[in-house]
Amino acid sequence: MAIIERPATVPAFVGDASASPPALVTPTAALGAFKRPVSTTGWKSWVFTVDHKKLGLMYGAVSLFFFLVGGLEALLIRLQLAAPDNTVLSADLYNQMFTMHATTMVFLFVMPMAAAFANYFLPLQVGARDVAFPRINALGFWLFLFGGIFLNTSWVLGGAADGGWFMYSPNSSPLFSPSHGIDFWVLGLQITGIASLVGAINLIVTIINMRAPGMSLMRMPVFAWMQLVTQFLLLFAMPVITVALFLLSFQRNFGAAFFDVEKGADPLLWQHLFWIFGHPEVYIIILPSFGIISEVLPTFSRKPLFGYKFVVFSGAAIGTVGWGVWAHHMFASGLGPVSVAVFSAATMLVAIPTGVKICNWTLTLWGGKLWFTTAMNFAIGVIVLFTIGGLSGVTHASAPADTQQTDTYHIVAHFHYVIVGGAVMGLFAGFYYWWPKMFGKLLSERLGKWNFWLMFFGVNLTFAPMHILGMQGQPRRMVVWPKKLTGEGFFNLGFWNQVATVGSFTIALGVLIFVINIFVTAKKVEKAPLDPWDARTLEWMTASPPKEHNFDSIPTVHALDEFFHRKYEEVDTEDGPRLVRVKSAEQILAEEEAAGDAHIHLPSPSYWPIVLAFSLPVIAYGVIFNLMLSVVGAGIMILGLFGWVLEPSVADDSDYDPPAEGSGPSKELASIG
């Protein structure tokens, strides 16, 4: 059967279980009701878009908003702890605050912000014009947005979740948390979880199947690699939390017995399921940031990444070993000596690939012509702060030490160093590095320096004292510290709590400057140069911001750091071989434009992702308040699925601009964005 030569017509199959097979109809045969939207301007061009760049920007904007929300919650927590016997928050509100702070930061900021970068830059970095499943991509974004809103509406509908972000049972049962908060939390995470799952499938297929010619796996940028590992972790970790959340919601909403100790339930069931998800989750949080700084460090050291293969494989190793360490979160729960020993050893093992990465980044800097832009500052900040957090992490791998530190501020110090110092600082490196690519304007470097140094000092000021607090025995989640228990001298709790509070406001000031920077930059008329950082990877081989179709002609890749190798060639001189600049970015772009494809069809926008995504919070409200509402939601869902399936594959021909004769590439796609 080797005679089939034409490209396959691959239907836009939903790719998940809820999908019915699509009808591949030609536009002219389409049912009138299921026409595809075609607006290129106005709100419709955003709401119905399937363009990975627009979705990436929306992911970014929404996550940034939730970052501010989560930050506000953090500040309230720190205010409450700023003085002895403080009354800024009631104990009940305080519980909700730290639960929602963690939930928001993890699920509504760090993960989706990494997804924003993945959405925007993965297709560009591997040389594709969009992701493999554009409509599913849109579905993922809307699910995330609606899930996040749903989660936060609990504040006004009877109080937010108050069980801590890991929501241990039996504390999460209705007896101990009678408000609807935990129901909102469970169902909200279920919705954002679906977003992560479909996003993971989509991005993995994109990386495996949509690479430009010549872009072998070992020529992919490290960011793409780290995203690949992250998406695999999501793919396999999300179903585990899904199970746990279903068990909990069946218990809370339908009276199931899963965590009912009276009936003989084992509270460790929840802990295991949560941490089987939860530990891969921490790598899901950190690996995208590792990917970003692996792009930023070589660019601003003007050297290739030291040991590319080691960085890639150690990332994959972290992803693998990360599955065998979950019970180190449970050393204090009485697992038994064998389990503790096994998980303790496995945990120490994770330090090896992580250490490899730190070494590689440091050696990338070694001997490089360092250029201290704000992005570079943040990237180096990640190395420093993550190493501190990593070292305290290794001490927790030792079960006897961990048993002392469990549920104290020492743990809080550790994971904030790795999450804020590692993941968040990495994302900020990404903002400064890629801003000119996304918006065509450089963020102000002057404000950027303030942004960086305030955040860097703020992080240390906030979280370093928590090591002391923890060692002194201040428990996590403690709502007040009484004056009489603060102790005296250098190690008194009151002083260090106040230092941490000052630190948290320093971070907030840094973030505020970042927000100001965004507005200042938006007002700026001056355009960024095409290649402001002398960058190395494919995403810089297109206009800034990229054209709707990313590349005029799909580049053929010959090497790792393809763009760099097009700009520079090795020339033999008297002093040995030297790199000489042979082309500018503008010349390369002009070449690509000249060789541009004449007709580029991009995926048409669609109504159905947002409709389908909207049905889920409706169902979820129904589960909490009235099952009739769930029936309505299910109706919307069925409508959405049918619309999705019966939607014509592309917008009607008459909706396109007629192809312009001989006037450069891709005129016709201009109207379909």
Binding site: I4, V10, A128, L197, F250, G264, I554, P648, V650
Partner: protein, 217 residues
């Protein structure tokens, strides 16, 4: 279908002159980097992910199967002859499913629809058996909230039942869409995709049948 236009755009410029040398190592490599269908790859990834979902539910059941307090336990309620019959029914639906896929590959619409409907019918029969089973259990005093055993049993088999029900809906919709000629692209692949999902649901039942019903607690 939206996706396909990207592939064409991405790897094969509209002017087909200069992409014809790309497919010597894998047949059709000019479609995707690996030459494999995006949809099938996505489906297999999804099924890999589903392993962790059902694994979690099965493990929860295994952990709790002996904890039935005062209520009836597995040995009292399970009706092995009935479950064996419904297991057999589901197993045979996998046969009709592969026959549908083969018919679709032969471009034999009539038989494709016939076998799809046969599969849906067998699937519905299985779900019917499950509804009967649940009702019988309930009458024997095993409610969803009765004990840890009952909660985890109904959750596990209920999840599976929902998967089968979704599959039945997909099969019927697919047969209808094929009947109305609304698939103009690669029909065989669409049928195959639904088939993969269906077989996976069957394979999960193979595991549940043994671990839950046959191996004594």
């Amino acid at each position: 279908m939206a996706d396909i236009t990207i592939h064409e755009g991405a790897a094969a410029p509209a002017d087909h002159g200069h992409d014809d040398h790309g497919h010597d190592d894998h047949g059709g490599a000019h479609v995707t980097s690996t030459g494999l269908s995006n949809n099938k790859l996505a489906m297999w990834l999804f099924l890999g992910s589903e392993c962790l979902l059902f694994g979690g539910l099965i493990s929860t059941y295994m952990l709790y199967r002996g904890r039935h307090g005062g209520g009836p336990g597995p040995a009292q309620v399970f009706d092995i002859p009935l479950t064996s019959v419904s297991s057999f029914v589901l197993l045979m639906s996998s046969l009709t499913m592969v026959l549908a896929v083969n018919s679709a590959k032969r471009l034999d619409d009539r038989n494709t629809r016939l076998w799809l409907m046969a599969t849906a019918l067998l699937g519905a029969l299985f779900v019917g058996g499950q509804v009967y089973e649940f009702t019988a259990f309930y009458q024997e005093g095993l409610g969803f909230t009765t004990s840890l055993f009952s909660s985890s049993f109904f959750t596990l088999t209920g999840f599976h039942g929902v998967h089968v029900t979704l599959g039945v809906v997909m099969l019927i919709a697919l047969a209808a869409i094929i009947g109305r000629g609304r698939i103009s692209g690669d029909k065989a692949e669409v049928v195959e995709m639904v088939g993969l999902y269906w077989h996976f649901v069957d394979v999960v039942w193979v595991v549940i049948f043994t671990l839950v019903y046959l191996i004594p607690a």
